[in-house]
Amino acid sequence: MISFGMTEDQELVGDAMREFAAEAMRPIARECDESAEIPADFLDTVWSLGLTSTQIPESFGGAGEERSPVTNVILLEELAHGDAALAMAALAPSLFANAVLDHGTDEQKAAILPLFCGESFATGALAMNEPASLSDAARPRTTAEQKGESFILSGRKTFVVFGDRASHFLVTAQLGDDVAVFIVPRDAAGLTVGDVERKMGLHALTTTGLELERVEVGPEALLGGAEGADVQQIIDSSRAGLSAVMLGVSRAVLEYCVPYTKDRVAFDEPISKKQSIAFRLAEMQIEVQALRQLVWQAASFLEHGEDATKAAWQARSYAAEKSMWIADNGVQVLGGHGFIREHPVEMWFRNARTLGVLEGMVAL
């Protein structure tokens, strides 16, 4: 039954996150981008919201609340409206925890999930992107060879969110004809965590590379055990999540441009009264609305266990194209001010391009 109605809970979550994003995220976003750092007290504040732990079952130390991908895209849109990098940092522990929750064996859940239910910010990291042109999440070049009961992992990863502070890594690797996921502890022999990476956008969200030089892990490291993990589901969830982030960024651009164009006077009237400007704003509004439906569709399919691969592809692809278009036109609408770092639009422009090419960065 098709419905576009949020539940009361979802409306409350959306409102609360919108407020939190406006008060705790937007004001520090520029500073975090410039320093490429997130203040520790921000992560503590986010941790106290319980974004990750509330959705972990009580038996593993969480609050056992229902996990809803739809609620999570609503939440992500609002947080990313505040700032994309901070939003993804806030959700980073879930990226790791949800994959274990969805695909792990009981033993893996019992060993890992309690780590995310403690008093202070803790995170693992998903290592999916690889440092090569045409790197394809569905076909990693990192390999896993079976050696008796163990596995030997070899390869390189990049853009690993919070690689600098993760206690564990989920590493995707080609195992025979399948893609498998391995839980690799930070201190595994042969694993080197690289320096914090410098990238065009999402400066505040620290990412690192990983080098795996014949890292040997036991059978307990294979996510999902002998049955393995549905890697495509992890990719789908991340694509839907990233599309929600791009939706938030798109809306941020639009909502910044509206008052700006009403204030900015040229040729004796606000530029918002020119059709060439007004139509661009209308186009942004049209695409924000359309994009949101694709994001919700992908989340809805994930929520109900339907095959979400196509819907998630569509949401991510549309989001990448339209958020870039919106951010690009946001810069243009502001003119010279769009190029100046006093305004956030140039940051959103960089973030949009960055978000549009990543995989495995945020999960629902």
């Binding site: 576009f4 539940t7 394809d136 109900h304 592809w313």
Partner: protein
Amino acid sequence: MIDFRLTETDKAHLGRTRAEGVICRQYAREFDENESEMIPDVLPEADQFFKDYPELPEVGDDDTQGVVMMLLQCMGQNWGDYSVRLRRSMRGGLGNAALAAAGTEEQKAKFGEMLLSMAITEPGCGSDPSRVSTTAVLDEDTNEWIINGEKIFVTTGIRATGVVMWATIDKAAGRAGIKSFLVEKGTPGFNVPHKEKKLGIRADDTAAYVFTDCRIPRENLLGLDESIPKASSGGFRGVMKTFNMTRPLTAAMGLGIAEAAIDFTRDELEEAGITIDYTAGPGGLGRLSAAAEKFMRLEALFDASKLTTLQCGWLAGKGLPNNLESSICKAHAGSAVRQITQGCIEILGSVGISRELLLEKWMRDSRITDIYEGTGEIQRLIIARGLLDYTRHDLK
């Protein structure tokens, strides 16, 4: 709860609409090529059609499922063919929607059973209906309105048995003076000179109307409100309310045609052995052919447009305001169907322009989507005014 899954009943229902669409499609080319002919009211296969269509839901009656299904069904019918549709399932013309929204109970009883066209556009006034120059003058002696003027592009104008038409009762009052009138075919002074010749939807009976001293009863003023609001444009806004369901419906009609092009192109790609693979993300595009990647983007555009249209209808079904969303979905669909039908032809190459196939017809037929019921530009004006909190005086 946000949910995008169709129930099994809905799927079966839409499957039947598609099956009928296939039947209707057999006639699509014939009536496109012979535009002067009228499609018969009942096709020979009519007895094979599904009869039990749900009634048009009352907007505002919390019938979200009814409205969403109506839009999906509309897409399904247009997937078959825009013009050749089961007449029995015609829920009336645009005029019927206006009657339902603004008519009195007596008017609904008297005109509700008729097929009512809607006549707004004039040779000198298109997207700006406040420039209507057709006049209605009250003859107090006979209690009749005397109508004079010319209307063009009247959808279902030939088959309609009556019309809801716009005329001004006070030119000096501008938009506030515009009222809607119900006129029956056969009324002396109401002439239908010709069927228009068009780029697409050629089989559709788009007509021109001429009113010459056409007298109608005083009670045929839709809604019976003869007052002319002074400062505000409240009266006009009442008239414009008609668009809240017609815009998503118009979007749905165009999207049905676009979906036909999408489905046809997907089959052709499959036939050619071209893989469509949704696991290929950024970086994985090297695995896709240019044709596959373009197709996948067009299909994403289609889904975005379809869902945006359904969301607008869902709001109407909830009885929630959907003015902005109506314009958004219409503007999005208007642009999407152009890109989709033109893009599918590009993907398939020269075969796409052959009149042996329907692809070129779908491109011509869907082109009207961004023009009628308010052009894409008008929709953007409305959206921008909403965004900027501007009136029509602030942003022209």
